[in-house]
């Protein structure tokens, strides 16, 4: 791996190496820019470092102190936050969905949320690029939305949990399909196909999972980027002129400084606003890139409610990726909805610790009732949504007074569901309950308080008063400061965000290259 001097400016210092930062580091390096990408977590080598064990693999999660509050406090940690090179793609469930085209103009076309400054037709091509880069395994024909190219790899076989989803959909007269997944269904280079061990959200120990760690990052290094791991960036520095000059980071027990012509913040929707708020100066007292006052606001998680039941047959949903089948029916069909937005739902495969904690925290079981319910583990079947929550300014990331192990103020994450969110959840739970009844599952119950994914907090938009960055992920306030991760989403849709984050990163890299050629981005590569 090439290494850069700290005292000479690189073209891009990127904070975070997940779906946003990892992808961007790769693309920018391949375009000839000098790149150092920082991650607070370690550079794991899955074949040597990963065990088949839920407890051990909590080492992949971001578990630094954070405070959650509001009417519906968000579960963090394992649920949505990664601290490793590759970010949370190292432990994501690999579900790789395109947005419904209308969502990019949901205010204009659907009457809610905010429009994106991006055109879905342009995004369609970037989705294709990412699907090819990750060799997504998906169905021959996707049942919803405009035509898309064939997925590069064939779909994975269905497990019993996925078959239950399929049967339920067919009984209720809606479409389903094999979930497009970022795990190999055929060999790729030195990597074997997925062996269906089912530990996906605890990290893939065989490298079948096409995380940023095994896709974009090796490409980035091959193209000359440096990945600086175990480096916690605590501050983006700016000069008197109001331009970013580099990043201050904690590594090997000391604070250090990397000079850079451009800084990209890609820490996901909590750490990104936290870093920019913690970087406040006299010139920018409310934090960097915050003249709109919107930095940290409009945090959006996604609804992640579930219906669970017990089948007569053995399901053994621990085998295979957890979500092998999906329906996006309620993302694309708006008829009969009493809410804005949409949701998909997928089959589930919780491992024992996750399942036991779900029974405890969401079903309220402990003692002999918990033990009796856990005995049904191999017969459990479940359907879980990824549902759209609406942007609200009151849902936000701010700084608490307490500090973490680096002496940096920790984030306070405030969240409350709005009435629309509740109506969507209610609709989904009723529908999924019918779907489970249709396959003769018994002892049905609903899990009502789970959420997933993190978006918003630095939304992209059309003007500096109502957004933090422009369509190119460039901050309105500081021209050499960029934000490239899920933070820039104005809305979230009812689809997992990772494919869209990566598509935006690919687009941003193309835009940076074009702007640099015109002299509108400072970079030695195109000087």
């Amino acid at each position: 791996m090439r290494e850069y001097r700290k005292d000479e400016p690189v073209d891009f210092a990127i904070v975070g190496t997940g779906a946003g930062g990892g992808t961007l580091a790769c693309k920018l390096a391949e375009y000839g820019f000098s790149v150092v990408a920082f991650d607070a977590g370690p550079y794991f080598r899955p074949l040597e470092d990963f065990a088949s064990d839920e407890s051990e693999q909590t080492k992949l999660y971001w578990t630094d102190d954070r405070i959650v509050d509001g009417a519906n406090p968000v579960q963090m940690g394992s649920n949505n936050s990664g601290k490793a090179v590759g970010g949370s793609t190292v432990h994501f469930a690999m579900v790789s969905l395109r947005f419904r085209p209308e969502w990019f103009k949901s205010r204009t076309l659907l009457g809610y949320g905010a429009d994106w400054p991006l055109d879905w037709r342009e995004m369609w091509n970037y989705y294709t690029e990412v699907e090819q880069a990750l060799k997504i395994a998906g169905p021959v024909n996707y049942p919803w939305g405009p035509r898309r190219p064939r997925y590069p790899y064939r779909a994975h076989p269905l497990n019993a949990a996925a078959r239950a989803l399929a049967r339920g959909c067919e009984a209720l007269g809606i479409k389903w399909t094999e979930t497009p997944l970022a795990t190999l269904s055929a060999p790729r280079g030195l990597a074997h196909p997925c062996v269906y061990r089912g530990f996906c959200v605890a990290g893939c120990s065989t490298n079948a999972k096409q995380s940023a760690l095994v896709t974009w990052i090796p490409r980035a290094i091959a193209a000359g980027a440096e990945i600086r791991d175990l480096a916690m960036v605590g501050k983006v520095e700016v000069d008197q002129a109001g331009l970013a000059t580099g990043v201050r980071y904690h590594r090997e027990g000391a604070w250090q400084f990397q000079r850079a012509r451009n800084v990209v913040v890609a820490g996901y929707a909590i750490e990104t606003p936290r870093l920019l708020l913690n970087s406040a100066t006299a010139k920018f007292p409310d934090g960097l890139a915050n003249s709109s006052g919107l930095l940290g606001k409009n945090l959006m998680v996604q609804a992640n409610q579930a219906a669970w039941g017990v089948m007569e047959q053995e399901v053994r949903s621990y085998k295979g990726p957890p979500s092998l089948a999906i329906t996006e029916h309620w993302n694309y069909d708006d008829k009969g909805k009493d809410f804005f937005g949409g949701y998909s739902y997928m089959s589930q495969g919780p491992l024992p610790q996750l399942w036991a904690n779900t029974q405890l925290s969401a079903h309220g079981l402990w003692g002999s009732r918990l033990m009796a319910e856990m005995a049904n583990y191999n017969h459990v079947v479940g359907l879980k949504i990824v549902g759209e929550m609406l942007p609200q300014e009151a849902n936000c990331v701010t700084l608490a007074d307490e500090v973490d192990q680096y002496g940096l103020r920790i984030p306070r994450i405030t969240y409350a569901w709005c009435d629309n969110d509740k109506r969507l959840i209610d609709h989904s739970l009723k529908f999924m309950t019918r779907a489970l009844q249709a396959v003769d599952a018994r002892d049905l119950w609903t899990q009502e308080d789970d959420t997933c994914h993190l978006n918003g907090t630095a939304r992209m938009g059309f003007d500096p008063a109502t957004s933090v960055v422009d369509a190119d992920c460039r901050s309105w306030d500081i021209p050499n400061l960029w934000i490239c991760d899920g933070s820039v989403f104005p809305t979230v849709g009812g689809a997992n965000p990772s494919l869209t984050i990566q598509a935006i990163a690919c687009r941003t890299a193309d835009r940076i290259k074009a702007l640099a050629k015109r002299g509108e981005v400072e970079a030695r590569a195109y000087a």
């Binding site: 990963f50 064990d53 839920e54 051990e56 578990t63 061990r197 053994r316 918990l370």
Partner: protein
């Protein structure tokens, strides 16, 4: 759907299945063996909890995840102690709640104060009925000793105490065998994925009246 087939509700639904019999086979890689064996050798003496706290945690764990007397118990309190000693964190907490170690200390102190006030005894000395009653009142937020401080009893129950206990229990191979989970699966993984399909290296389930033959099958799970 086979209406007549009854799922047995006993502890021996997977008779003779021991997930550890796979530990030297192709479902367990070296990293996994190392991690699980280290867990199995967790020392029984507390390093984080005081001796008195440890008694309380042991008693609480026996109510949250009651274990059959027919096998050696999973040392739940010791596993929770190790987690706290090593400083493993969830990575988030509700605003009124301190971090893991402090929450445990505070919660145990408050529970003992409640036990003393209501029943003039220490928690681990109370009958199971009284213990359950205190835990239920903690779960529903009815306890109100000043010892709780700002921490809500129901938050301590659901977000910290019972959570850590349940996670410790299901981190143990004995619990994995009990529920018939396949356990660690790298690099071998699985092949047969459909309804009622079982790989030869998975637990066979007794369907009632077939215990002896199922036990024979499970003896060969490697």
């Amino acid at each position: 759907m086979h209406e007549g087939r009854k799922i047995p509700q006993t502890q021996s639904r997977y008779p003779g299945y021991d997930v550890l019999s796979k530990s030297s086979g192709p479902s367990w890689n070296e990293q996994t063996r190392r991690v699980v064996m280290r867990r199995l050798s967790t020392r029984r003496e507390p390093r984080f909890f005081t001796a008195e706290e440890f008694e309380t945690v042991t008693a609480i764990a026996a109510r949250i995840v009651p274990q059959p007397a027919s096998r050696p118990p999973i040392p739940i309190a010791a596993l929770v102690d190790r987690k706290l000693h090593e400083g493993v964190s969830d990575g988030y907490r509700v605003a009124a709640m301190p971090r893991e170690r402090e929450a445990w200390r505070l919660g145990l102190r408050a529970l003992e104060a409640e036990a003393k006030a209501a029943h003039a005894g220490r928690f681990h000395e109370l009958s199971e009925v009284l213990q359950d009653s205190l835990l239920q009142r903690m779960e529903s937020g009815e306890l109100n000793s000043p010892e709780w401080g700002n921490m809500r009893p129901e938050d301590f129950f659901r977000r910290r105490m019972a959570r850590d206990i349940v996670l410790a229990y299901y981190a143990h191979p004995t619990a994995w065998s009990e529920i018939g989970w396949g356990g660690p699966a790298s690099p071998r993984g699985y092949v047969r994925l459909d309804f009622d399909e079982r790989d030869p290296w998975e637990a066979a389930e007794a369907k009632g009246g077939d215990d002896a033959s199922v036990r024979r099958v499970n003896r060969h799970v490697r």
